[in-house]
């Protein structure tokens, strides 16, 4: 048995199929992950993401600490509540984790990291924090619920604490507001509009039930994965890990090279590989025919093996299979994948595949 979130009983009551994930027992789906996927693209769905770890990083040295720790630069976060997506690199330039950090006030940040890497991340951060006046605290007393889809904000806002109802609707993308222990951010992992909401664990089940009664569909890890894949968003552990550079994971845009004097961990290692022609390309693939592309399938151009699929699957919005892949450069966009003993045609495209309910590839 894995760890249980505050919503474990709610999931079982709603008929979830529970599976182990990152040390936790989490819902895979509540009947049909395809229907859950469509609910998020067309209306609104909700995900228990309490298995992810929220951290508070507080103290006079917190900005300096995070500017050293992260490849993206928190000095860019001027406005209160503004969020930043970043990789946390090791000295070799590999990705320890990808995360979101919010600057809530001067000297106070909230970070959310992946479930499977949480203990490793915390150990690494504490090791790096010695030289700074900063306190890092794991917020296992919080639950997190993502509400996503074109109707998500309108359905969720009236159910928030009074003080947040109006201001939540006025949030700009990638900004958060808080009231007490509730934090509402206009962020997500689906390619749709919506909120990610942190709240006290004791309030989670009531809020979850209220969302369901308002017509928000409960969604599991299955739909979460197909939604993020369509949105062209990376999955840690599949699309990148400690052995792979963000430069070869489609994440070069998350590295803040300026100012040059900022010495973030891993900078030297990634800087020497910057703009190199022989870096592997991180691309999208469209399967031309029937079938489903799976993780680790090999990609070919004639007899040349170009690389492999890092995460593949079925795209319900497109009704065909798509994948993210890492391949050698210098080939045209028509390749083949070896699938169940035969070669099938795939086409290289630029992610995302779907944004805000609409196909971005043909």
């Amino acid at each position: 048995m894995g760890l249980k979130t505050a919503l474990f009983d709610s999931h079982n009551r709603m008929g979830a199929k529970m599976v182990p994930f990152g040390g936790w027992d989490m819902p895979l789906h509540y009947g049909s992950q395809l229907q859950e996927h469509h609910a998020v693209r067309q209306s609104a769905g909700m995900f228990d993401v309490s298995h992810m770890l929220a951290l508070d990083i507080v103290g006079d040295g917190s900005e300096g600490f995070l500017r050293h720790l992260l490849a993206n630069d928190v000095a860019r976060l001027q406005q209160p509540g503004k969020a930043l997506y970043s990789c946390m690199l090791n000295p070799d330039g590999g990705v320890i984790d990808d995360l979101i950090v919010y600057r809530m006030q001067a000297g106070r940040y909230r970070m959310v990291v992946n479930a499977g890497t949480a203990e490793k991340d915390l150990g690494w951060m504490e090791q790096q924090a010695h030289a700074y006046t900063v306190e890092i605290s794991a917020r296992r007393d919080l639950a997190m619920i993502a509400v996503q889809g074109p109707q998500a904000r309108a359905l969720a806002a009236p159910l928030l604490p009074n003080a947040l109802q109006q201001s939540a609707l006025e949030l700009k993308p990638f900004v958060a507001i808080e009231d007490g222990e509730w934090l509402v951010a206009r962020t997500g992992y689906t390619g749709e509009d919506g909120f990610e909401i942190s709240l006290p664990t004791e309030d989670a089940a009531v809020f979850w039930t209220a969302l369901a009664e308002a017509g928000v569909a409960p969604c599991g890890l299955g739909a979460r994965d197909t939604l993020r894949l369509e949105a062209g968003m990376n999955l840690y552990g599949s699309d990148m890990d400690e052995t792979i550079s963000p430069l070869e994971s489609g994440l070069a845009w998350t590295i803040a090279w300026e100012p040059e004097e900022r010495e973030f961990i891993g900078r030297q290692a990634v800087e020497v590989r910057r703009n190199k022609d022989d870096n592997l390309r991180f691309v999208g693939l469209l399967l031309e025919g029937r079938g489903v592309l799976r993780d680790h399938l090999k990609i070919f151009s004639g007899d040349d093996e170009l690389g492999e699929i890092t995460s593949g699957g079925f795209a319900p919005t497109l009704d065909r299979s798509i994948a993210l892949a890492r391949i050698r450069s210098g080939h045209d966009d028509n390749c083949e994948v070896e699938m169940r003993g035969r070669r099938v045609a795939v086409r290289v495209v630029k992610p995302p595949f779907v944004r805000s309910g609409k196909a971005k590839v043909q």
Binding site: L34, G222, G291, V292, F314, R340
Partner: protein, 131 residues
């Protein structure tokens, strides 16, 4: 494992066969199998007139999670396939023992059915897999 029809025969590889009493069987996958696979997105079926050998693969069901070969429980000739599955593979999830049937075989050796499991025997196989 509540809805396991006792009139069917089962293969360890999770197909069911219904003896239609006229020398043919109808073949599908079990409710346990569809539950393990999750939502189906493609079903590739044999062609009518194909001849098939017991225990060899002749169809593929592909779900959001995995592709799975389907083995015919008995040898013979394919005399019908469920064409509705081309547009609605979800019928297998919704009704594995009913509208989600896959194909029908005119058996060349009906005694092959004796090699299959009854409901109790299959239930033990499926239960063992869940632990």
């Amino acid at each position: 494992m509540s809805n396991l029809p006792t009139e069917l025969k089962y293969a360890k590889s999770h197909e069911w066969a219904r003896d239609e009493g006229d020398g043919t069987i109808t073949v599908g996958i079990t409710d346990h199998a569809q539950d393990q696979l999750g939502d189906l997105v493609f079903v590739d079926l044999p062609e009518e007139g194909d001849s098939v050998d017991a225990g060899t693969d002749c169809a593929v069901v592909e779900s959001v999670k995995a592709a799975s070969d389907i083995y015919t429980p008995a040898s013979g000739e394919i005399v019908a396939v469920n064409t509705a599955l081309a547009d609605s593979p979800e019928l297998v999830n919704a009704s594995a023992f009913g509208d989600g049937w896959l194909f029908k075989v005119k058996m060349s050796d009906p005694s092959e059915l004796d090699n299959l499991l009854d409901a109790d025997g299959y239930q033990a196989v499926a239960a063992a897999e869940e632990h």
